[in-house]
Amino acid sequence: MSKLKTALTSIALAGSLAAISVPAMARDTINIVGSSTVYPFATVVAERFGNQGDFPTPKLESTGSGGGLKIFCQGIGTNHPDITNASRRIKASEIELCKSNGVEEITEFRIGSDGIVIASSKEAEHMDLTLQQLFLALGEKVPVDGKWVKNPYKNWSDIDSSLPNKKIVVMGPPPTSGTRDSFNEQGLAAGCDTLPEAAELAEEEHAAICESIREDGAFIEAGENDNLIVQKLVGDTGLYGIFGYSFLEENADRLQAAKLDGVEPKPELIAEDKYPLARSMFFYVKKAHIGVVPGIAEYAAEFISPAAMGPNGYLKDVGLIVPTRDQLMVLQTKLKEMPNLTADDLK
């Protein structure tokens, strides 16, 4: 009996002890939040950085670009993250949010790019698409004689006689994927905007029409199993697949990519934003935390070092399209000067 009592009291005591000992803590681990697209690259850098033994391995949370910036801009102090990753540029409204919470000084690093490709088997006919044709092939509704109707196109050649006379079948990422978001925005919506009919759409209609993919079987959601898509594309020359550039590069011996608006997805063209479906990746450093949390500047230095992002860097092995030499030089000077990002820089 008494044993039970002592056991209960000790549990209760331990509980209350744990409850009151919430310290205001100093932190020696870098906290990073942000985009799930940058996550696979940032984790590799973080692990290498920790492996050198000078600083603990940073902690990384994959919150999405918007979510990351929101948490990042919450304030200054060790309870807030030091760095956020983003697969798009920070918005003026987010800089405002940061400012209103006292996060006045942030530095932006552009860390390279990623491109979305439309690939097919090497044996298939090579396609040279415009974004408009891409939208006409995959949009849920397309304009015919001035009216928006359900997509009537069955074959690529129905859209333009220069395209192959083959059924439109495209495998692509599911709606949960960031690649799909970018594809919808930069591919479909951009293609839709080239149509004169799109200008007449009301704003809410615009997003609904220009960013929806058809659901009549011409577009197949393929999940995230990359290897499966490769096998399917190689086996069927009528199939096209949408995925990240790194994946095309890995299977360059078996796959080819369609030209978009006449531009081929080549690393240099993606890095310079010439390819229409290229997107840049960034990370933002909270300057007030440098010196408070150890290792922030060193982590940034590791990320943009030639060992990581150079032409033979380890991030290239993971599939990053590394910046050009000039861009890398700009980054190095940025690291030394740590310039503040202002709303004017975004224009």
Binding site: L8, N31, A46, E47, P81, D226, V230
Partner: protein
């Protein structure tokens, strides 16, 4: 009035139908159980089938020549010199001695066979043993994860996709020579997360889970039991207690993500506690398990026969003595079972932890309640979403570890009940 003879006839006629009905009803029951069991077996078979290879690792054992010239390193005790030294070259040289057919252009392919972190292992070992300089040492390294999956799934084309044909031949040859070996994957149980599947382990997640569970247990058990005792034994029956009871029952059915939102708003944003720490995770899971513990504890107290209370009161025990000396010990097994099942539920929870930042890439093993940590189900979630093939088997292996934890917790609950329970 119906004639009894006729009535008997009607009953007799319908008898067959009733028996048939009963048989059918039983068949439905058996069918339901078979479906449940079959899906369970399919699930387990799939997990074990995919995951058993996760408990194996592939290693490469090399004779590494610690040559100052090839490594650009004179003095391994000088940290700056170590930083500039080349630890990849000696590994590739050693490999190309075993594989003389590999030409100068194939060096990149050879490099793709060794784990990307093998060079840091060599560095650390050399720094620990500076007298190795100038000697040749036999060291075992992890293989690259592509080699790992290829080696473990011989003949399955899906697993060889990442290696070129030459590389596959190299691996086959190295295995025949005994340079590449498969052994029990101790790395999996002794290290934290990693982006390299070959180096990834569940220890960080296990420690994180234990820390979170400790906080949850220490908070939710006493609070839950105290609340149950008060509500059952002391509280007056009125509208307020009815209201509380309805709310507790409701809370037990609230989706767990809501508790995560609450934790984010209250503990992190209001109290300013750090993100991603086991303490906050434990607090959130405490909120989630409390209703379960209170409900099961109340049921356990209710099931103590009133005769025991009356007997105790009859010999002059006070209300408090009745509860502490008689009711509580008898209700304890039921309370413990309820708590353990509640804890097991909390152990498998990811959704509320997502919002308080415990879904994160954390390499270091947490050492306290305020170190960034992740838990087992989150680790499974993170690995299952990784593109590398080798992570799929790691994820399945982690599921098996999680299941082992859940099974042992449930077994403990059954054992405690069997041992402590008293029947009347």
């Amino acid at each position: 009035m119906i004639d009894p003879k006729k009535q008997a006839e009607i009953v007799h006629k319908s008898l067959k139908k009733r028996y048939r009905k009963e048989k059918r009803f039983r068949a439905y029951g058996i069918l339901a159980i078979t479906i449940a069991l079959a899906s369970l077996i399919v699930l387990f078979a799939d997990i074990i089938n995919k995951g058993h290879t996760g408990f194996l690792k592939t290693t490469i054992t090399l004779d590494v020549e610690m040559n100052a010239e090839t490594m650009y390193l004179e003095d391994p005790t000088d940290p700056d010199a170590v930083r500039m030294a080349d630890f990849v070259e000696p590994l590739i040289q050693s490999l190309s001695e075993i594989l003389p057919e590999a030409t100068e252009e194939d060096r990149g392919k050879l490099r793709g066979l060794i784990n990307p972190y093998a060079s840091s292992q060599l560095r650390d070992e050399l720094v620990a043993n500076p007298d190795w300089m100038g000697t040749t040492q036999t060291i075992t390294f992890l293989a690259h994860s592509n080699v790992d999956v290829y080696n473990k799934h011989k003949g399955n084309e899906a697993y060889s996709i990442k290696l070129s044909e030459e590389q596959q031949q190299y691996v086959d040859k190295l295995r025949d020579k005994g340079v590449i070996e498969t052994s029990f994957n101790d790395v999996f149980f002794t290290s934290g997360d990693s982006r390299d599947p070959a180096r990834a382990g569940v220890l960080g997640a296990i420690v994180g889970s234990l820390l979170v569970m400790f906080v949850t247990l220490v908070l939710s058990f006493p609070i839950g039991v105290a609340a149950a005792i008060y509500l059952e034994e002391f509280a007056p029956r009125n509208r307020i207690t009815d209201f509380i009871e309805v709310n507790i029952n409701n809370l037990a059915a609230v989706p767990s993500i809501i508790f995560g939102l609450l934790g984010l708003a209250v503990f992190i944003n209001l109290f300013g506690m750090p993100r991603s720490v086991p303490f906050v995770g434990g607090l959130v899971l405490t909120l989630m398990t409390l209703p379960t513990i209170i409900i099961s504890s109340r049921a356990a107290i209710k099931s103590v026969p009133p005769s025991i209370r009356e007997a105790a009161e009859g010999v002059g025990a006070s209300k408090m003595q009745v509860v502490l000396h008689h009711v509580l010990p008898l209700a304890m097994p039921g309370m413990l079972t309820g708590s353990i099942i509640g804890m097991a539920q909390a152990l498998g929870e990811t959704a509320p932890l997502l919002l308080i930042g415990m879904v994160a890439f954390i390499v270091e093993i947490p050492e306290g309640f305020f170190d960034a940590a992740t838990v087992l189900p989150v680790q499974v979630f993170l690995w299952a979403g990784s593109p590398e093939l080798a992570f799929i088997e790691r994820a399945s292996a982690a599921i098996m570890v999680l299941l082992a934890f859940l099974l042992s917790m449930n077994a403990l609950a059954i054992w405690l009940r069997k041992r402590l329970e008293r029947r009347w």
